[in-house]
Amino acid sequence: MTRTQALRSSEDRLHQAQGAPSLLRVENLSVRFDGSPDDVNVVDHVSFSVEKGKTLCIVGESGCGKSVTALALMGLLPTPPARIVAGRALFAGQDLLALPERQRADMRGNQTAMIFQEPMTSLNPVFTVGDQITEGILRHRAISKAAATERALEMLRRVRIPAPEKRMRAYPHELSGGMRQRVMIAMALANEPQLLIADEPTTALDVTIQAQIIALIRQLQAESGMAMILITHDLGVVAEVADEVVVMYAGRVVERGAVDDIFADPQHPYTIGLMGSVPSLGRRQGALTTIPGTVPPAELMPRGCRFSPRCPFADQRCVSDPPPLVEIAPAHDARCWYAPLELHREVLR
């Protein structure tokens, strides 16, 4: 394989007709915050696509633009200060980012739904759980209050909440974190969305509950056939649920591919670092890897590769020139001058 072939822009590939039409195709999404330097977008030319019934995981550490991407897709970005400066998000043929607010509101909680990170604070404390689920149903469906209440009850049953009739009348503070997250899921799925965006849905929960919630989300997804974008920094969850993985760093996609490829053959130094920093059961061989430093703030963002200040392989070119996202294997892209790493043994030393 020649270098030129390898450099074939993966954005081009994305535009080529693929087997199954994507439910959501995000192209070059860029978001900027007012007040940050002109050339530093918090989300920079992010592209990915999700197919019906599939799960895409967006992985990255805090501040890498995962949540901003999700909020942009839902039309929930606080504007100002956030501003979508470029890109398209084609959902069933329509560009979400170009729709007027009224139409977007009609889609939210209907065709697209979102689950948030903090179940403890994501429910209105002054109304009962039943009221809140019912409200979302009535917003999008022309049905009677009684039918909506019945539907809400059915949703509570589907998310395995014990004694759902009783819980309908419960206030949020009477429920545990896990129960509240189940309620949030019931609310999000009440109108049978085609796309669910889950923004770190298990981060605030304790470990045993996390597993339950992930299992529940997977099962509901299997039942309904919806597509899901799961945002997380828990690679264990990724391995369990993802079909496709997008690794983001400082607002850019640094690696993208099928879950097996990413785990078996991570190509970007950042992805490799992430994989090495996951603790596992059993005898440990050597210390866990850490990635030194933190994501640079917007005003100190390097001009070249944004990971270069923390990358063990970085050289002069990495600091000065941004690497393109290149296809290094079929449907597996990485944004690194030295990908695939095995072809660049000189940097491995």
Binding site: A105, N124, V126, Y171
Partner: protein, 289 residues
């Protein structure tokens, strides 16, 4: 020894917790009792009045308190007790109605200003600040003088003067609540702004507004008394505590009962509303649980 462990202990209901906390506060109970007492007096005023509060009696001018005239009589021979009982209505009405005006105008402005931000917020906030720059009572007096002397106009004047406090308070609260996850959650299920303001923002900003309203009733009662004292409120011959003090000041040494009783009544009802409001504030404060 056996240890009984209750599984699934239900959290105490929020309302029950607030009520029990309020009931443990003696000052608040005393305040609530005072307020309740005056409210009952105002309601039962016609039954309690021993004499006609308006009809002069030249045979009984400036009589000291006695078995017949419990609180004495004024310079026209009218029974001070009867006038006070009837006057309680004017005072309470002025307190409640003017605060209602202030809340009904101020809270919506605050909600809009805080929720939408931008130039709407700028216009509302700057106007509010301009109004707040004028001392409350001075503003009320100026407005009352402009509208013309009557109890209704006094209430409107007091209500408008108290409005900016509510705009500012509501706006501040909205800014906090707006950032809550459940408001974002409401947007994520596609609820329209109007609905979010009504169901998600308003109920959650209400507690501090309620406390402020209670405390402002006390201020409004003093303001009404002040306006009536200046002749801008309740018009003679109808009684109000403020206007009674106005005439009583001329007879401070000859007939001290004419000023002592209405003065004490104003003091007590204001004290009552303040204690009640403070108790409410402490009971609703989540940090002190």
């Amino acid at each position: 020894m056996t240890l009984a462990i209750a599984e699934d202990v239900a959290l105490p209901k929020k309302r029950g917790r607030i009520l029990s906390k309020f009931l443990r506060n003696r000052g608040a109970i005393f305040g609530a009792a005072l307020v309740l007492f005056f409210v009952l007096v105002a309601i039962a005023a016609p039954l309690l009045a021993t004499h006609d509060p308006i009809k002069p009696s030249f045979a009984a001018i400036r009589k000291a308190p006695s078995a017949l005239y419990w609180f004495g009589t004024d310079e026209l021979g009218r029974d001070v007790f009867s006038r006070m009982v009837i006057g309680a209505r004017a005072s309470l009405l002025a307190g409640v109605v003017s605060v209602a005006i202030a809340v009904l105008l101020g809270v919506p402005f605050g909600l809009i200003s805080g929720y939408f931000g931008g130039w709407t917020d700028a216009v509302i906030s700057r106007s509010t600040e301009a109004m707040l720059a004028i001392p409350f009572l001075i503003f009320a007096i100026a407005l009352a003088a402009f509208l013309g002397p009557s109890l209704t106009n006094a209430m409107i004047a007091i209500g408008l003067s108290a409005m900016p406090i509510f705009v500012r308070l509501t706006r501040g609260q909205v800014l906090t609540i707006k950032a809550e996850d459940y408001v974002e959650g409401a947007r994520a299920i596609g609820l329209p702004n109007f609905w979010i303001i009504l169901r998600y923002i308003l109920p959650n900003v209400l507690p501090p507004i309620l406390v402020q309203a209670t405390l402002t009733v006390a201020t409004a009662i003093i303001a009404e008394a002040s306006l009536s004292f200046l002749g801008l409120g309740q018009q003679p011959p109808n009684p109000s505590w403020g206007s009674m003090l106005n005439t009583a000041k001329n007879f401070m040494t000859q007939a001290p009962w004419m000023s002592i009783f209405p003065g004490s009544a104003i003091f007590l009802i204001v004290l009552g509303f303040n204690l009640f409001g403070d108790g409410l504030r402490d009971a609703l404060d989540p940090r002190e649980n």
